[in-house]
Symmetry: C2
Subunit: 200 residues, 2 copies
DNA sequence: TAATTTTGCTAACAGTGTTAACTTTTTTTA
DNA sequence: TAAAAAAAGTTAACACTGTTAGCAAAATTA
């Protein structure tokens, strides 16, 4: 019977509209001011309807976090696939990661809990593990290519990731004007010294 | 007249008790669940009294942020003063910073807005500038001591800080068990490669 | 058509930050 | 010392927040 199908579609449509409305609100006013009531108003439904599709607000935010990591994985994969030389790959990954953070600022803030709650349970998301795997393989190739067989891929990955994230998050909270050039330089400097560090 | 003095002392006493009660609550339940009403209850005063001493909640949190940076500056200064060799200084700073973050976890979370709001206006705090200055001078000494005169102290400072902060914040949200050994290794690896990177 | 399930809404609960208006206490003035 | 002025503190509200119990209306099934 097609009735169930239609109901399924309708339910899915509401779910989508919740996500769309939420995203629209976030772009206008940020995660901090996103509320269930505002979402309900935006989709022309009453508040409890939202709880039919998401267990609570945290679950709704988790959905966006996952989506964010999916997007990040996409751009990183693309960056890796665009180059064959491991060095160039890592360089491209760094730039892609950087660019993602600032072109999808809202996503990045949510993903890393910058100015948010939501610290818990982020790590259990499968997309995060995929993300780690992605970078790890890139790192392994770089190490294999370089002479330094002692370099530990996972170790280097952590440093790589930490530096990028640290740089981004420090700059995201409180932006001095004229910092963008500096950031560009820091990023360049880091990538170069990171790669030479592995080669040495 | 001594009346004004006494009133001043009483006012100061209330202010202190607000800060003490807040800190006690934070240690029990974290920043996220700290509320004006809970503070008021803890100090046996009504809610508006708190607004006589702090313009709003953000101002109260800012006080703790400043205090946190003061403490951080102290331990970093001590780390620097304990060594004469610039290399050893930087190494000590890294460890001290690291240790501060995890032994004063609540402070660090507030200072860097991990799982919080409060992103704005952090950078304008004088203690933050002092902190930057502290690290910058350490970095300059390291560079002067090494042959590499081209290294730009501010650039290296940014990398240094970013990596540390990135490492810490990534680990603070969602802690896998058994990660502590890895962290120790990553930190060691980073410090060594950072220093050799400057010397090269 | 009648019974049943689904769908959606109203209204409430327990919180949050913040503040206007009032009362009580203390200090100053006459 | 008694009245007036100033200060200190309180109550109660406003406008929000996430969340949910209970009810009305609509759609589906028998």
């Amino acid at each position: 019977m097609g009735i169930c199908d239609r109901k399924q579609r309708q339910k899915e449509a509401i779910r989508s509209s919740i996500l769309e409305a939420s995203w629209s609100l976030v772009q206008k006013e940020g995660w901090q001011s996103l509320s269930i009531r505002k979402i309900a108003e935006a989709i022309d439904y009453s508040v409890p309807v939202i709880y039919d599709h998401f267990e609570n607000k945290e679950a709704l935010l988790l959905e966006f976090t996952r989506h964010g990591f999916q997007k990040l994985n996409e751009v990183l994969t693309h960056a890796i696939q665009s180059h064959s030389d491991p060095e160039e790959q890592i360089e491209a990954v760094a730039y892609a990661y950087w660019q993602f953070a600032f072109t999808h600022k809202e996503y990045y803030q949510l993903m890393y809990g910058l100015g948010m709650q939501s610290c818990e349970m982020v790590r259990s998301i499968p997309e995060v593990q995929q993300f780690t795997q992605l970078l790890l393989e890139s790192m392994k190739r770089l190490i294999d290519n370089a002479g330094n067989k002692e370099a530990h891929a996972f170790l280097k990955l952590q440093t790589f990731w930490s530096t990028l994230h640290g740089l981004i998050s420090i700059n995201m909270m409180g932006k001095d004007p004229g910092r963008e050039e500096l950031n560009e330089m820091v990023l360049k400097d880091f990538i170069r010294s990171f790669i030479t560090g592995i080669k040495a």
